[in-house]
Amino acid sequence: MTVAAGAAAATGGILLLRTAWGGERRDAHANGRAWAVLALGVLLAAAGHGAWGVAMASLAAMAAATACLGRAAYTAAPGRGGASQRRAHMMPQGREPWHLGRRTLTFLFTVPLGLIAALLAGLALRAAAGMAGWHDADGNVLALMAVPVIWAILSTILLIEPSRARQSLWLAAPALAGGVAIISGGNI
């Protein structure tokens, strides 16, 4: 029952957001109310059945948002406005050089080196958890869940960061922390 109430509140929050964002001007109070109702829904669902409740309320909220989008798509007027022409600068245009060396290096930084740095950072977290007296189950799961998230964050930063020197620092920092923590807290 609490989960159902949470799902209903989350749905209501989405509809309130739709109303608040549909006006001519943004109203901070209306926005705040909508977000508060959405948050209340998630909290109610969590109080009812923990993570399962949150998952159910989130699905309800996403369904409500998709329904709003469906309506927007159905009622959309035909238009001829031009789409964004922002260049992604991913591939050369015309006779522009390919910069294959630079691209290969970026790939190496982001994928294999990014994974190694993330793995070492994950092991550092595991070592820190062990030193803080966490149970092995908690420490190991922390590392298992953290590595992919750290890798994703690191690769995004590395792709956004234009300077190779700063990219190297971003890679070195978690790797170094990982190495030190493993040596001091692990079995290596």
Binding site: L17, W21, N31, H49, A51, W52, A55, M56, S58, L59, M62, A65, T66, L69, A72, A73, Y74, A76, A77, P78, G79, R80, G81, G82, A83, S84, Q85, R86, R87, A88, H89, M90, M91, Q93, T106, G122, L123, R126, H135, A137, D138, G139, N140, V141, A143, L144, M145, V147, P148, V149, W151, A152, I153, S155, T156, L159, I160, G186, N187, I188
Partner: protein, 450 residues
Amino acid sequence: MSVAVDKDVVKRALSAHAAVGLLAGALLYLISLTGTLLVFYDEWQRIEQPNAPEMIHADPDAAARAAASILAREDASGIKPTTHLYLHLPTSDLPRTTVITDTQAWHVDGAGRLTVPEENGWSDFLLHLHYRLHLPSTLGITIVGGLGVMMVGLIMSGVLAHPRIFRDAFRLRARSRGGVGLADWHNRLGVWTLPFTLAIAVTGAAIGLGSVVSFGLAEGFYKGKVEDVYTPIFGRDAVTDEAAAPLPDIAAALRTMKARFPDVAAYYVIVHDPRTKGQMVQIIAEHPRRLIYGDNYYFDDRGRFTGSSGLSDGKLGQQIAASNYKLHFGNYGGLTVKIAYALLGLALCVMTATGLSIWIGKRERRGLHQPRLRGAWDGVVWGTPVILALCFVTRIVMGNAAPLVAIFWVGLAFLLAGAIAAAPHWPVKRFLARMAFAGGAAALIAGLAA
């Protein structure tokens, strides 16, 4: 709501978004599409083998008889003794009893008799394509885990690259041309399915990279023993003692389970090292209204309860690890949640497909026409469902032995080559889109006729 992000960061985030999309777009689309289909993994099994016996409950004595029967059959045919014996018990999604060894699997009737061999050619083909792209298991699952990481990265760079993404969250100019409609679909679906996409990307990445991370943890903290990484999380394995012993009393274990834990639903029995002194009975039981896949309950060879692994009430780490799977596959709330996951999965397919189309469209509007590149992408987007439909129809027509892996990869390679070659002269997209709808209809007819 608007987020103030430096213009240069926005520009570079768009480059990062495009870079990851270009690098992994096709594989991400394949993973998204197969994941969407796999939401109905249990239902696919019922469709491709409709004649297997079904039941609401399995009688403990019948289950035990089935276990004894398959071992007797293996003894008679001289097969190497199985290291594990599995019993799938009926669930609401898959109301079948199946007994499985290292080498074979049989469906069981209500009396515990082995009736027909399990034939899940299509379902398992789909599962292995999604889990490991049909590559050797550790390599494949690690690559798929890496794709999950890329999906998380795409979410982050996508939000950074579009500072108005929340302000325009309900604006959908679906009928606008010139790339506006396509971009709006991509961005709006991206915003509103973000919790789902993030959840399946993070859980998928964690599942996929589990082998690599656990190897690192084993080397760093457990003297190289990978199994010791998982024991504190998922529970212990049997202690090996190869001296001969009679098969454990599975029926007694199932009865004890029901009497002692009436609120949970046992759905899987594993006998570790059967017919050795070190054997152990493990029953996995589902907890209603939880994201965990279940908890492990252990029994000795006389069916006496000896303990549980604590996935339902143990350490937070255990509960998180056990929740990854249901959260990823969407089997935690019956058919309604499965349908919601399938629709959200479809939205993810649309996002992946439109991402590269938007990029190609922008280049074309700047006068850079590359019909072969567009043909290749149209081949991926529309050709993949065509070949998947062909695989399903082939499975139904030819039977379980149909070489689906070869049909899929060879078929897709030919189709892509054809699309690239024909694109400068022929409307590839329109043709393949029609083929995809025709393939869907053919698969539906084949499924109904099965």
